[in-house]
């Protein structure tokens, strides 16, 4: 190896050397404490049971009676809207987002007490996460990403697998949108170690760079 490369490797090795530490232990402990996500037997059994029921009903002609028709004009009920579009957000949203979101969401009647959004099934939650992640890192559309992250966080319960990642990425979108004060508030807990070492240094560095 040439002298230059050899010297560069030695310098690089030294600069990137790591000492034993507890960095990341809290994050790992937190993740280990979360209950394992096991698929309930219902996931497999219910669709099979539904298929059997519909099949036998179709064969016996009961299906058309259920829908009040005569067999030929069976009306298939429309698929329900995704649950996130019909439930109120349980977390307070920043004013500017809150002003945008309600126009897309039906307003709950005043007589109905607000209830928190039900936690989405892990697979749905992963899909929401993927949407938000794609909006942020593939489409580079911070506005869409922020809406998607808020949607994910509204449906994620405190033990959600990617909760911290979502919060952190949401903070980055706030920064990308120039909403510095909100970004600062969102990054502060990371920088102060509220979540252990997870993103502590990154958040601190970004905070330093904020105007």
């Amino acid at each position: 190896m040439s002298d230059d490369l050899e010297r560069a490797v030695a310098a690089y090795r030294e600069a990137t050397r790591e000492e034993p530490s507890d960095r990341g232990v809290e994050r790992l402990e937190l993740a280990l404490r979360r209950p394992p996500r096991r698929r309930s037997m219902a996931v497999y059994v219910l669709p099979m049971a539904a298929a059997l029921l519909v099949g036998s009903a179709w064969g016996s002609g009961a299906l058309s009676r259920w829908f009040g028709g005569h067999g030929e004009d069976v009306v298939v009920p429309a698929a329900p809207q995704p649950s996130f579009a019909t439930v109120p957000m349980p977390v307070p949203l920043p004013a500017s987002v809150a002003s945008e979101v309600p126009s897309a969401l039906p307003v709950a009647p005043r007589s109905v007490p607000p209830r928190p959004a039900p936690a989405a099934a892990p697979r749905d939650l992963d899909a929401l996460y993927r949407q938000a992640h794609d909006a942020q890192f593939t489409a580079h559309d911070p506005k869409a990403a922020l809406t998607a992250w808020d949607r994910y966080l509204a449906h994620a319960d405190p033990s959600a697998r990617l909760l911290l990642e979502a919060r952190y990425n949401r903070a980055l979108t706030l920064r990308d949108l120039g909403r510095t004060a909100e970004a600062r508030a969102a990054l502060q807990p990371f920088a102060e170690g509220d979540y252990g070492a997870y993103r502590r240094d990154d958040a601190a560095r970004i905070l330093q760079g904020l105007p």
């Binding site: 490369l5 560069a8 034993p20 507890d22 990341g24 232990v25």
Partner: protein, 201 residues
């Protein structure tokens, strides 16, 4: 010459002292059985080496943290296939190398998002001139490494930066020794050119 290409005997793969291997084998068994304490002990023992490797391969601290976290979160399942052929630390680095592919794209995006400074090795608080020169050298190499294909970067980091033999790296990655040597040769050729180019005024 720090070249690690020399074909060395495979016994290098089992260079840990027997007592440590004994206790580590117990930790491995307990981790596979789902004992979190054992897993955390393994994490505390090995995380710095795996993280250093991940940083060198991904060029981003946050991405390295994610890889490390994911690797250890799935460790009970991964270790079910561990037969003690290599020291555990090296085995884990091999696993990290195989996981790196999934983290490269995100590390590139995040580096762009967070600014290029994130990939540079952290500057030392000591700043005599010699240190400064070493930091600059390290930074130039870090930048040149970013332009290597991942497989060449992994081969270079494992062989040259972390001083493993090509035989050991081949065993850890499940590749042939010749393949690793070839990647290393190409990596060094490109890095030499990159460093020479940067030196010109």
């Amino acid at each position: 010459m720090m070249l690690a290409l020399v074909s060395s005997a495979p016994q290098l793969l089992t260079s840990d002292p027997p007592s440590r291997r004994g206790s580590e084998a117990d930790l491995v068994r307990r981790t596979v059985a789902g004992e979190h304490d054992a897993l955390l002990t393994l994490y505390r023992t090995h995380q710095h080496r795996v993280r250093a490797f991940a940083r060198r391969v991904l060029g981003h601290e946050g991405a390295a943290d994610d890889l490390l976290h994911e690797l250890f979160l799935h460790l009970p399942r991964t270790l079910a296939n561990y037969r003690g052929e290599a020291p555990l630390g090296s085995f884990l680095v091999g696993v990290a190398a195989r996981c790196a592919q999934h983290h490269v794209r995100s590390s590139v995006r995040r580096r762009r998002a967070e600014g290029e400074a994130a990939r540079q090795p952290p500057p030392s608080s000591r700043t005599p001139e010699r240190d400064l020169e070493r930091q600059q050298l390290a930074a130039r190499l870090a930048e040149a490494l970013d332009h290597l294909p991942l497989d060449q970067r992994i081969a270079f980091v494992m062989c040259e930066v972390e001083e493993r033999t090509s035989v050991e790296v081949a065993a850890l990655l499940g590749e042939r020794d010749g393949t690793i040597r070839g990647r290393l040769h190409l990596a060094k050729k490109k890095l030499r050119e990159a460093l020479a180019t940067k030196e010109q005024p």
